[in-house]
Symmetry: C2
Subunit: 351 residues, 2 copies
């Protein structure tokens, strides 16, 4: 998951990005990249420079491989001189300096040993129009669309809005997620050229399970533990709701259900993958449950920590309370370790 809600705070957990990245690499990424290759091979392109948009780029670490692949595939088709614009978008508060610096300096940068590739950025929510109509050949967006554009309800019984058992909360989440999804697709469709392709991948669920029951159940149990110890009031525990919902493939396909088309987009593929636990093999070898617990807890903290911190009263010692929470969480994992393998939906659209 991503730092979409408040990247200013999330910069604090920056070290966690790599965990997230590895988790994705370990399983979903090869399948995602093969779908992305299809997009790169199929996109219509004329004499104009290729325009790739990386929606919700964060600091660009996860974008290097797919952007490089797109440049290579298109240059295989159009010649090595093909000019390319790469536009990274994220919220205004995103650290674009880190992105541009990494592009210049790091050896895995897609600029490394290439010419005629022009990176740009846009600091604006992707729930607004980002570019003039018809500008985009290829769009890439991963690990962000599970975040809602706003929190439609507090869940009194879970840390994740979409995992509440409360019927009104679930209804509000479903409505928000449906509206956000249609809004996102409508805006992206307008920005895409005729013949352009868009890949969207984010954590999702089956009809019967989310894949996050165990791990986020333990995180919520840790919040409850702190409630019992008098550290979080009932109000505070209710407010502690991460604005994430989990869509099923049917939810993802819903806008296309009637006519097979939505806003001029067609779904080419829509699949649910299982993301392997990147820490499990090491645990099998070492039996070190403390290490596994720390890695899993930090992996969760990388995307949820800033939001959780922001939900604690700023007049309290938020840092200490968040540390306490994640220590309890790690201890719960350590005492009964399991494999954590969430679902990832990947959808491929063509205009």
């Amino acid at each position: 998951m991503s730092e979409d809600v408040d990247p200013k705070l999330s910069a604090m957990e920056g070290a966690g990005f790599y965990n997230r990245y590895s988790a994705m690499q370990a399983a979903g990424i090869s399948r995602i990249l093969s779908l992305w290759a299809t997009a790169c091979e199929s996109v219509q392109i004329g004499e104009e420079p290729l325009v790739i948009v990386d929606y919700a780029s964060s600091q660009g670490r996860n974008s290097m491989a797919p952007v490089r692949m797109a440049i290579e595939k298109i240059r295989d088709r159009c010649g090595a001189e093909k000019l390319v614009e790469v536009i990274h978008t994220d919220l205004p508060s995103n650290d674009f300096s880190s992105l541009f610096t990494a592009l210049q300096q790091e050896s895995d940068s897609y600029l490394h040993e290439t010419l005629g590739v022009f990176p740009l950025s846009i600091g604006r929510s992707y729930f607004e129009p980002l570019l003039p109509p018809g500008r985009v050949h290829l769009g890439w967006n991963t690990w962000s669309m599970q975040w809602m554009s706003r929190k439609p309800a507090d869940a009194p019984d879970h840390i994740l809005a979409g995992m509440s058992a409360s019927a009104p909360v679930i209804a509000a989440v479903k409505e928000q997620q449906a509206a956000d999804w249609r809004h996102f697709l409508t805006l992206r469709a307008a920005e895409m050229r005729q013949g352009g392709w868009l890949l969207v991948g984010y954590t999702a669920r089956t009809a019967v399970e989310t894949g996050w029951e165990w791990l986020l159940g333990e995180l919520w149990a840790s919040v409850q533990d702190m409630g019992r110890d008098g550290l979080f009031s009932e109000d505070e525990r209710t407010r502690m709701t991460i604005p994430i919902g989990l869509r099923t493939l049917d939810d993802i396909r819903a806008p296309f259900a009637e006519s097979g088309e939505f806003s001029g987009l067609r779904i080419e593929r829509c699949e649910l993958l299982r993301v392997a636990d990147p820490h499990w093999d090491a645990f099998q070898q070492t039996g070190d449950a403390s290490q596994l617990a720390l890695r899993q807890a930090n992996g969760i903290r990388a995307w949820s920590g800033p939001t959780i911190l922001g939900l604690i009263d700023p007049l309290r010692d938020r840092e200490a309370l968040a540390n306490d929470l994640f220590n309890r969480f790690a201890e719960r994992i350590r005492s009964a370790p399991r494999r954590h393998e969430p679902y990832l939906a990947v959808a491929l659209f063509r205009r």
Copy 2:
């Protein structure tokens, strides 16, 4: 002048930006804006979205008025629905978050009460290609091109490279400034559309004076004072050279001298203006020399402070030494106040 050399440090002197801005407003800006209006009225534009590039944008504060003017002029010509892309460029370390946040939130933002305007940014030196060929209709660049792309020599006798009396230093500066200017124009020309216009304005000099003799003479005298007090060694004083040179109008016109054209660009206008001292009227009224001195010293510190700090050995207490230097500088101004009215060259190019 701008924060081009090290914006990471210059963020520390951010409060000074406003001084710089007011200084420009007070005199040159109205003439610059009338030339800019000519560009906006003359640029060739078809069905495609208008592309405005703000080269060396810093945090965008100085770009709001010219960009808004360009949008209004073009929409007067093409209709209120005309789509516009505005691309702000600066070094990778520039604070683009502040720029995007100001664009969203501030009432003087050119996004305020408009639709169909799309801001982007590029974090890359303008001594590299920034965009594919032919992308730009209108280019705007002010208060940055006096900075050299590198320091070609240390001046043993002045704080500003271009104000040294040493023949080898002056030769090296002239060569670097000439090369930078041709390089900048060549890159910009390639990015411009046929029929596009570019405005460039920066502090410059006449054949006989720079306009900075008094104020930067006092700053250099303050460095020498600190040398006499054993605070800066001779080596340190020599190294303390700001990589700025001052071109004459002939220098600016030089690439065009032979054929009237350079890299497909033609000079439409090239003028030298005098920038009024924005603090002088208040001083005339109050007679408060301390206030004048503080304002003038801070105005200089806003653009030079970060560079000067970076030139002091990091193992020393740089902050304290820089404070001492600017206190001495202010005291020199206070004891013999004068009006400071530097020159500003404005050149307008058409492709």
